[in-house]
Symmetry: D2
Subunit: 418 residues, 4 copies
């Protein structure tokens, strides 16, 4: 039997009011994330893999319209049927789509029209929540929950994509000047501690309470060899040592595809690092561009915005390796683990393959996760840009190994019998 979102999608006992409140809060937070940006900032697409903020605003609304309101809300009138073509991301079952690399060309609809679209969809959803009969609610509730989770995912993408777009501007404008201290461990970075994980059978995957994506299921047994895992993330200072030691010039540290990318793309440091003397913001020191603009490199902050290739090369240089996703999940509750979430997604040494017994959700949302299960690597944890409360122990994030623009860092691991 194929699972449906029903199987895992809802907190038991979640009331209509609860969901209505969370829906409203998430929708509102999305707009707040866009607020520091001008209409021009929200329209731009800096590479095919990234999307404009305005597109994210519209797509997350389209998702509710196509997946929830269309099938379940009687009498709902789509805001503008021609927009299906524009704001469908990758759902083949909903028909042809505007080419992804051309999302930045959509100066129309205007941002103000997209705001009206959002309000229209929100009214539709709120009406559905209030008025649906029980059978309808039973079917719609799980998809609504998925829509909320989906929008949280796009909240992080808004930040990753806008950071990339701003980084392409030689003026290096800040998303928002921020006074808050960068994320780091209190005080100075302590020495890295190795935590031991025992071997043998472990259970991984979503245990069944609360929402989870289909790719986290089914919960199943896997077998681990004994391992050790670092209690904290690798820092910028440690990564700077790797660079200073010639890390980007030493082929033997890199996977073959990674080394080819280093050479063809002329990588010399993480994507948002500015080397001393960079003409865009002259300084004698390394600096880092982020949402708060150009700042001096903080040697104690977790290194971020790495590709898998860079993470794996660093680990090799450090005489270690990346943890597998099963190790990471097993280590989640070991004593002494820090920075598990809220700092940076952590590349694992696991390809994004289906779990044994995995089946995609039924219906249109079958395309949500399963069709991407090739050519990508799993990241675990959650970053400073992840929506509050969104990630969890069993959460499987995934990106191609060359992707650098996510909030992605690393934690080291080693074989137990070292």
């Amino acid at each position: 039997m194929n699972p449906s979102p029903a199987a895992a999608a809802v907190e038991p006992g979640a009331s209509r009011d609860d969901l209505a409140d969370r829906f409203a809060a998430v929708r509102s937070r999305t707009l707040a994330l866009a607020a520091p940006l001008s209409a021009e900032d929200q329209c731009v697409q800096s590479m095919p893999e990234a999307s404009p903020t305005k597109w994210h605003l519209a797509h997350t609304s389209w998702f509710f319209e196509a997946v929830v309101l269309g099938p379940h809300a009687k009498g709902y009138e789509p805001f503008e049927p021609r927009w299906n073509h524009l704001f469908n991301s990758y759902y083949e079952s909903f028909g042809p789509r505007h080419p992804r690399p051309q999302r930045g060309l959509l100066t129309r609809p205007l941002l103000t029209s997209v705001h009206r679209y959002r309000a229209h969809v929100e009214a539709g959803v709120e009406h559905l929540i209030r008025t649906a009969d029980d059978a309808t609610w039973d079917a719609a509730q799980k998809l609504l929950e998925l829509g909320v989770q989906h929008e949280q995912q796009h909240q992080e993408l808004i930040l990753t994509d806008v950071l990339h777009a701003l980084s392409c501007n030689p003026l290096l404008p800040a998303y928002e000047p921020v006074d808050a201290p960068a994320l780091r461990l209190a005080g100075s970075t302590p020495a890295m501690e190795w935590i031991t994980g025992p071997g043998g059978p472990v259970r991984i995957g979503h245990p069944g309470e609360g929402f989870a994506f289909d790719n986290e299921t089914p919960r199943h047994t896997t077998w681990l060899q004994p391992f050790r895992i670092a209690d904290r993330l690798v820092t910028c200072g440690e990564y700077a040592d790797f660079i200073a030691d010639g890390g980007y010039r030493t082929a033997s540290l890199w996977l073959s595809d990674g080394w080819a990318t280093v050479q063809s793309q002329q990588w010399q440091a993480p994507i948002y690092w500015l080397a001393p003397g960079d003409p865009r913001a002259p300084s004698a020191q390394w600096q880092v561009f982020g949402l708060d603009g150009v700042r001096p490199l903080d040697p104690e902050a977790p290194v971020c915005h790495l590709s898998f290739y860079e993470a794996a090369a660093y680990a090799e240089w450090a005489g270690a390796r990346l943890p597998t996703e099963a190790e990471w999940e097993a280590a989640y509750e070991l004593t002494g683990m820090r920075q598990l979430t809220g700092h940076a997604w952590q590349w694992t040494r696991s390809s994004y393959d289906p779990y044994p017994g995995y089946h995609p959700w039924a219906g249109a949302v079958a395309e949500y996760n399963g069709k991407f299960m090739v050519g990508q690597m799993v990241l675990r944890g959650g970053s400073s840009a992840t929506a509050p409360g969104h990630a969890r122990r069993s959460y499987r994030n995934f990106f191609p190994p060359a992707a650098r623009w996510q909030f992605s860092g690393l934690r080291l691991a080693r074989d137990g019998a070292c």
Copy 2:
């Protein structure tokens, strides 16, 4: 002796007041052309060859700053020195530049900041006009005239580029709903008449009064064989006959590079034509997308937005050829010639080679025209999008033979001894 803009740049007797008036009028017209567009519309770049409206607004200001104010206006303070890098188009002598294909990523400076930049430059120019001593004025005047002409060129580019950008949007939004009738001959299109041009020596090139670009000089003798030239442009209706007759499927009509482009780009009609049944604006008839949105094809209007390849293939199909630029210029004053300007630029069968004795202007503006004299074809005439008063008989416009997004059509010619 190399000519300088001095040699040809100014109307004799043009007073400071005259130039100040024209400067103000041109600057104002540029903003008026941008006015129907939102900030988003003005930021987008739809292909490497096109530029955002906002960039045109800023670049034409940078040109005055770099070429006129910097060298000649004492005490002028640049608005923002870091913008030189952003808004220099192709002048190697002014240093490195933001990559052309990434102009659309410049969400900052904001449009409102570019408006302030324009005002700052305008104040500087007006101050220079009022206060320059005679020697300074003598040197600056010609460059100021060049800046005005340059901005007029970009006025047309604003329209060509925004039309292309809007055409990439499946919603096919109009630049501006327009009620004015499309450009055409009064009443119905008369039969094409052939006007005879005699052979022998003719003088072509700018005769020396008023402004001209360096590429129109020196005026010189060339020799023509007797020829015939059409009194009017080819119409959309005539071009539709070419399509219906299989023009885009008949290799023998095309130059080799043109046929390769037809196949690789899958050309089947002019770039802005919508075939019957196009899902973006369903209709049983051919339609044409333009600045005023989607309109039914007007069979009597001049065909526009053709590449040289398409123009040459049409002429071959029609048993004719394109005129050379010397024929076009010689025909300019023949009795009976119509639609010489104000409708569509007219592709000629002449490559954009230098005139005998040609020398670029001296100084930075040497890069204005000369360095592009390879790989391009000459267009003559002027289009409906050309700034009023900008073009003239000796004017040489030029684009690569595959370029389709300009306001470019064609006029037929034939050998005299046919």
Copy 3:
């Protein structure tokens, strides 16, 4: 401790004579495989991923020279030091290399010179085997074994690459007219039987006797869920049903990257299938191009030359999935399994990740396998083109998911609790 080839490289008790015999036999077989090909055939490279036969002949000799003779054979004189640059494949530690996509431009050295190179290296190896002192032999023996295994791998690549090259010729010439019957089950294809594999802990990886590559080690425990696996490979006839049912036009069957490839590459059938009416070899039936030329499709033969994307789409269409590599290895000794090897490599649903505890061999041969452990999928089994005796139960072959030119087919699997 990092394993060295020593750990696993040699059959216990293999005498010098045994290895000398096997060396001679393998070298001789390589030449025999090339024998049906002209010097022109042996020089051509049809795509960057493929190599010319002549290059394979030289590279396998370079490998012995660089890895075995250089370090271990006193007094050995390289045949031509400048050829290191030409025939090093991907070993960064041996210095810069001729660009892979340009191997087909190496008309020199001539094939006859490469034959002399082979003889020179063979004399060197034979001399080493006869004369090495015991310490030298102890070190060299394992690398020599690796060289023999390496050459066997290239024997299969000679056939895959030459088949691709010949397929690019519209004349579709045969590598060698062959009268032998195609590989298939005796008589007609029996119905597919499902063999049940039990869940729980299993041991996979090389058990330690005889040669194995580093990527097969260490042997370790993994945990399986109960599964079922097909007793035989999918046939051409079954695959033809998939095509007839619109398999290549149904997005929902494909992984996202696979569907993008189908569309951009216009895949409509396996790479070497000729649709009815193909102008290269007109027929009313499906035909297949192979080493023996164009033959009518044999519906009972195993389907071959599929990409992972095609294999996975077929499995989805068939209501099944691909086995994981652990399932495949566990199923190897189940009763009733057929066509395990000698027919076609079998794509698994496992990404090519390192085994827990994996370490590459020490020294230059560390680059042999480990650096490719990203972006590839594992194949198991062995094909009709695999050198006799080369593959084994724990053997891990790997290719990118879009690769079609290998002798690669598929076997179906299903979850046990279906």
Copy 4:
């Protein structure tokens, strides 16, 4: 009336015997040019613009078969009809063709088969010459002459293409070790002399006696301004001064497209020059790779294998310009002109546009020249690789401006009124 090859194709009074003799001599010379090359050398294609020697051998035979024998030789049996597809170069009227970039994949037919093809065609042509009735001969004779001229053109291409292919091999093998001195002026290079050409009307184009290609016709009047032209070609020594003076690093010397190419292709010297220290053939001096292998740069030899961009940049650096093709043709008989032919093709400042009144030949050979008249520059003169007797004063060679692999150099010119 369209001209046919009849109009210009034949020497008046050329007898059947004469043409038979010339046919045999040209065919024989082609094979002699290929003789130093192995079968592998003759199969390789080093870039899409170049063709394998074997392909040239076959294509020149196909041309006789398709253009002469097919239409005019009763009872002629094509050698192998399937080869039409392989060896048609670009004649759309003869049907679809093997893709040009894949000519190097044609390992079959074998070289020996192509030799048989040549013999078969030669027998057919010889039979036609001997046995054709007068009407047939009248029609065939002109096409036969064209076939001979066509094969001479391919003789030069064999040398240009094989030189490029050999240059891609890091071993830099010689086509043929040659002891003959390089082409140069006797003794040391004399100072360049400027020869004055008068202005006014001149007649250019083929005057009508003997063979000419359609693109040299019709002979017509053009008008020249007074000019000066160098009596000899630019030498390697002079070009080395340009390099030493930073020519490849000075944007202002280059056309815009040329400078973009210099940067994207990292040009630093002519394509076949080896800078001091080049690892392929270490030396402290500049060296040049040619058909006779690597030789020290001869400062007095004409510089060769330049692109138009490089020729134009050199001329700019030298305070001169390239001559137009009309100037070159007018200067042909001025007293004192040297190195007009037999050394290097000479880039002109003329785009390859049709002459006034130009019409392609009738029939299939209409595609011979006319369809390439866009995007190319004219070269005049003839090189050391041009077939003896092939070029003439009115001869128009043409290549794209970035093409470097031809035997192309330059001669300087200046305006007369300097």
